[in-house]
Amino acid sequence: MDRDLVEQARNGDREAFAVLVHQVSDQLYAVAQRILRDPGLAEDALQNALVLAWRQLPHLREPARFEAWIHRILVHACYDESKRARPWTATIRAMSADGGSTPDASVAVADRDELERAFRHLPVDQRSVFVLHHYLGLPLVEIAEMLGIPAGTARSRLHYATRGLRDALVADAQPTIREGRLA
């Protein structure tokens, strides 16, 4: 990230900020989409985050931290958007039909649907840590710093997210097993 651009934008240069926006918006949108599992909410989260980042940019003390800082704003925008989330049935369709990248063949469609269902039941703060860790590949210490939470909290959110996913998948699998035994 170009520190000069951040400095210029911090001093009110809208063109400099537009350049920064074009550099980060793809990743911000991808993250929002994966946290919220809804294209409409993700778009709103991105737009709100970009406007809020512009407004609050003069408060950013370290230009070098711009990328982490704007991700934090985005995650908070996702928290806000999740409060008005729609029923998830529409979401699965949207995410499945909207494949911008190639799905891994090792994850079957049935598994993806199970994961989608299970993930949707997690609290948004756990989903956020899970996505930042497993999608962006950020270490927990960095996530904690990014979100302004203790490292222990980041760790416990990831732990509970993983456990929640596993429990939901196990619960999802139960009727199938029972049916299999009955058959």
Partner: protein
Amino acid sequence: MTDDRSLERAARSWLEVGPTEAPDRVVEAALLQIQTTSQERDLRVPWRLPTMSTPTRLAAAAIIGVLLVGGAFLYLDQPSQHSVGGEPSPSAAPSVSPSASVAASPSASTVAVPPMTQPFTSTRHGYAIRYPSGWSATPATKRWTGGDGPDPSASNMDELSGPSARLVVESAPLGKQTADQWKAAYVARFGQDGIGVCDVLPLDWPAITIGGRPGFLDGNDCPGDGTVAPNDRFFEALAFVDGRVYLFWIQGTVDRAYFQSMLDTVTFDPAAANDKP
């Protein structure tokens, strides 16, 4: 797919699916909105003025001094203001520790402070406190070793939780460390506020009182992570009592006076603390 490793592998593959480009119309809409949006300017006075030379600092201090003295004369020259029994002027808390050079006193609360009516006694951490009616209390089930920063989701903290605020408390024996050594190690690990997001206070944290005992305000009106209330804030305070460190952390729609009103109800009983795992 239910063991953690294969679950994580599957989840990573699953997360790869989905759009990776922001829709142009969304980005353009944001940039259009920014054209008519002004930036917030930070009007707070910084704690340190690193770019000032020493003579400039002295001159600035002299000007501030003259303004303060002049202001005081003008104020004292208005006797009617003293005779109507107005609000008492804020007074600094007495110095309670040789190492604490800045005294902090809360100004009037801008947040409605409820009465602290409900008693809570922590047999794990060795203290008692009062909290508002309608809150829930969840005692710690594990000891705190003092090695972690505040983690409200951990079971080593007592948690008092209300609709828009949450207080967590933990304590640990200092062992062979002095209070100053503990503080230095804590700052080195987690930053001055225990998290590292709000390190704007001087290292000699403002002195406060906690249940009438000396304490330090090491997190003062810091931005929270929005998990307790929208735009929530957090405060953190430490006390060192009879060989133990006590950590109090509040997050939510709160201010300094709100926090202090809870801290004022604290009674320490370090001998009653249980440090078994």
